[in-house]
């Protein structure tokens, strides 16, 4: 395992060290003292493992396709931007625009996230992106979502989602625990109960969450969840005339 002391390093140097080490066959990294360095592991295709202590900066794992990243601390904005594959685990909370345009892989966030999370996530073939949020999300969750899955566990039992959730959504689904105020939703989505298939999928992610973060499960039951899904795959089908 390669240990990198990040304190004082510019992101460009930090990423160069990682890429260089990958070329020399290194598979495991530990970055200590991260102080907001952006773009860690951006565009990396190798199945490496990176544990980060401290706070990585924006666009952690942007465009990446493979790495496993664990942050012992909070994350900032743009985590997993347009990522295709891999896994990101945040032992804390994360900022805005998590998983924008994400096509595959998984992001687990122990606590809450900010605004614009999961916008335009999309699924393709056997790629299906998943974001699991321990607490709540703010406005614009899952806007224009075209595929994949977002789970809001709402473990603190507050208001789980913000306004404009699922606006323009035309694929994928969002499972939310707790009551959803209909007025918070975009026009293109509706609330339905979970199917059996949904429930078994959800149960899997819930156990994974508790395993990953080692927190007590408490009384989270599947009945408390609702599903937000698009009314149509063609929300704007009749918007235009020829």
């Amino acid at each position: 395992m390669k240990i990198i002391e990040a304190n004082g390093l510019h992101y460009r140097q930090l990423n160069e060290i990682i890429r260089e080490a990958i070329k020399n066959g290194e598979q495991e990294f530990k970055i200590i003292g991260a102080t907001g360095q952006r773009y860690i592991a951006a565009g990396i295709k190798n199945k490496i493992k990176i544990v980060i202590e401290g706070t990585p900066g924006n666009d952690l794992g942007a465009f990446m396709q493979g790495p496993y990243i664990e942050v012992i601390g909070n994350g900032q904005d743009g985590i997993g931007n347009t990522m295709s594959d891999g896994k990101i685990i945040i032992h804390g909370r994360a900022g805005d625009i998590i998983g924008y345009g994400m096509r595959g892989g998984e992001i687990f966030i122990r606590d809450e996230v900010g605004y614009r999370v999961g916008i335009h996530m999309k699924a393709y073939d056997n790629l299906r992106p998943v974001i699991v949020i321990g607490d709540s999300a703010k406005d614009f969750l899952g806007e224009y979502m075209a595929g994949g899955l977002i789970i809001v566990l709402n473990l603190r039992g507050t208001v789980p989602i913000g306004k404009y959730c699922g606006t323009g959504m035309h694929g994928g689904k969002i499972y939310v625990r707790g009551d959803i105020d209909e007025h918070l939703l975009g026009k293109e989505v509706s609330i339905t109960p979970l199917s059996e298939e949904d429930e078994s999928e959800l149960a899997g992610y819930i156990s994974q969450y508790f395993e990953l973060f080692g927190v007590k499960r408490g009384n989270v039951s599947l009945e408390e969840f609702k599903k937000i899904s698009p009314r149509s795959h063609r929300p704007y089908g009749s918007l235009y005339t020829h």
């Binding site: 992101y11 460009r12 990423n15 890429r19 952006r38 773009y39 951006a42 565009g43 990396i44 295709k45 924006n58 666009d59 942007a62 465009f63 990446m64 396709q65 743009g78 931007n81 347009t82 295709s84 625009i97 924008y100 345009g101 096509r103 614009r116 916008i119 335009h120 999309k122 699924a123 393709y124 073939d125 790629l127 614009f140 806007e143 224009y144 075209a146 595929g147 323009g168 035309h170 694929g171 795959h233 063609r234 929300p235 704007y236 089908g237 009749s238 918007l239 235009y240 005339t241 020829h242």
Partner: protein
């Protein structure tokens, strides 16, 4: 009879004497304007369906067809034209937004036609391009403020010490603008790629991802990253010679894109990486970019993801505040800025946006170049102009106004057979260009189309050299931003001021 009758735009004239009822026109017209009547063994036509693409006319073996503008007998009215009325009828029926294709076709001033070039006479001789070498080679990318060189001890060799930022090398300052696989056929994409390779220039993937069979043209490809992030992954980013972040497009500034589900075929689904049949929606903004700082963040995310090996540029539509926006983009770290003017084309856009939003590219180039110079950062960014370039003289005037290179879209499609019928959004392009229907797209032979593209660019390049030589200039580089070589005719004071050119008749 419906309440509102749509006025036909075209009249199909069939010479009964010549027509042999061979039904070529029936097969050629995807809009089903020609109908065969087996009982009478005759072909007849429905004018209302014709979009004026002239395909049937071109292919009729006996030359029996002639497509003309529909002669109207309604009272002539400058305000309530048949076109305006048609739109009202259509919207009264559908309650929907009117879609269209190609660039704005309205009568806004085309400044290229009001700008004249200079030529040498007596006092400085012109250069004969047939005899002298003429340099059209252009480099796109950030230029260093100064170059440090190192002489060897013996002072006989010189080495450049400064590390040059990545550059695109164009053999002629003309590239093919972003047209996605999806908006145009695979054959059309392939023709553009091949032609770019042969000419030594670049084509642009648009926001539709890159088909696996086109990766081999990577050295001549600019890959685009748009708000939908379709088909964007590490291999895609690394496949091209440069990356262009698409913020806006001249045909539809401020709004997103929308490839309808019907067009997301198996193959398109594979390159865009979305399931077949779902709408490919590109949101209006990139939702990770709400400011210049955010833009900088994406520019550097892309540079990190591609290890600083490629220029990363930003494409915007020419809008009112374009100069200030462009300097912001330059300061955000972009290596090139693409500005797409009012007349820039598209595969599909709401007509109301296409025809009413933006500013002409001529003014945009001039004000952006001036502003970058004023701020002393002109060399830090290259300027690519796009939107309605029709001929080599438009190109050379753009360069003299301050552009480094231009993108051509519609002109390239025209070279492949497009007749600018503006029906690209229907997916029924009879010329096999803006369609995914294999029956139609196989009409476009990529070999022939590539050859025609190469011919067009070669012809324009020769003309560029002629004009340059006439001005006594032997390198396009020396013309860039050299507005003394331009003069305006029939322009108002304010237009001359914004274009930064003198009126014709005024000397140095």
């Amino acid at each position: 009879m419906p309440l509102s009758t749509i006025f036909p735009e075209f009249k199909i004239i069939r010479d009964k004497e010549k027509c042999i009822a061979c039904q070529v026109c029936v097969r050629q017209c995807a809009f089903e304007a020609h109908i065969y009547d087996p009982e009478k063994d005759e072909v007849y036509s429905d004018d209302s369906k014709c979009v004026g693409c002239h395909r049937c006319e071109a292919l009729c073996p006996t030359d029996a067809l002639n497509i003309i503008k529909y002669p109207f007998d309604i009272k002539d009215n400058k305000n309530w034209t048949p076109g305006i009325l048609n739109d009202i009828y259509r919207q009264a029926e559908s309650g929907a937004i009117i879609l269209t294709g190609m660039g704005c076709d309205k009568d806004y001033p085309i400044y290229w036609d009001r700008i004249l070039l200079n030529a040498s006479q007596v006092t400085n001789p012109s250069i004969d391009p047939l005899r002298e070498p003429m340099e059209l080679r252009t480099f796109i990318g950030r230029k260093p403020r100064y170059v440090e060189v190192e002489r060897s001890q013996e002072r006989d060799t010189v080495k450049v010490k400064t590390q040059l930022p990545p550059q695109l090398r164009l053999e002629t300052p003309i590239m093919f603008s972003a047209m996605s696989y999806g908006s145009i056929s695979f054959n059309a994409c392939q023709a553009l790629a091949r032609a770019a390779e042969e000419i030594g220039t670049y084509y642009n993937t648009g926001e539709g991802g890159l088909h696996p069979d086109l990766y081999k043209f990577g050295a001549n490809t600019i890959v685009q990253v748009a708000s939908g992030r379709f088909g964007v992954h590490p291999d895609y980013l690394n496949a091209g010679a440069a990356i262009e972040i698409k913020i806006g497009q001249g045909a539809k500034p401020g709004i997103g894109g929308h490839l309808p589900g019907e067009k997301v075929t198996e193959e398109i689904s594979r390159t865009r990486m979305i399931p077949t049949g779902t709408d490919a929606l590109s949101p209006a903004p990139h939702h990770d970019i709400y400011s210049i700082e955010d833009l900088r963040q994406l520019i550097y995310a892309l540079k990190e993801a591609t290890e600083y090996k490629k220029p990363v540029g930003v494409k915007i539509a020419a809008v009112h505040n374009v100069a200030a926006i462009a300097t912001g983009i330059a300061r955000a770290g972009a290596d090139f800025i693409t500005i797409d003017g009012l007349r820039g084309g598209t595969g599909a856009a709401p007509q109301v946006i296409r025809d009413n939003v933006g500013i002409p590219i001529e003014l945009a180039i001039a004000v952006v170049d001036s502003r970058l110079r004023e701020e002393g950062i002109r060399e830090e960014v290259s300027l690519i102009a796009a939107g309605g370039f029709r001929k080599s003289s438009d190109v050379i005037k753009a360069i003299a106004l301050g552009a480094d290179a231009v993108y051509i879209g519609t002109a390239a499609l025209a070279a492949m057979g497009c007749h600018v019928c503006q029906k690209c959004y229907t997916g029924k392009c009879n010329w096999g260009i803006a369609t995914q229907d294999p029956y139609l797209s196989k009409r476009l032979n990529p070999n022939i189309a590539a050859r025609r593209l190469v011919n067009l660019i070669n012809a324009w390049s020769k003309e560029l050299k002629e004009m340059l030589g006439g001005m006594g200039i032997n390198a396009i580089e020396s013309l860039r931003g050299n507005r003394e070589h331009l003069r305006g005719v029939g322009l108002e004071e304010w237009e001359l001021r914004l274009l930064g050119i003198k009126p014709a008749g005024e000397g140095w």
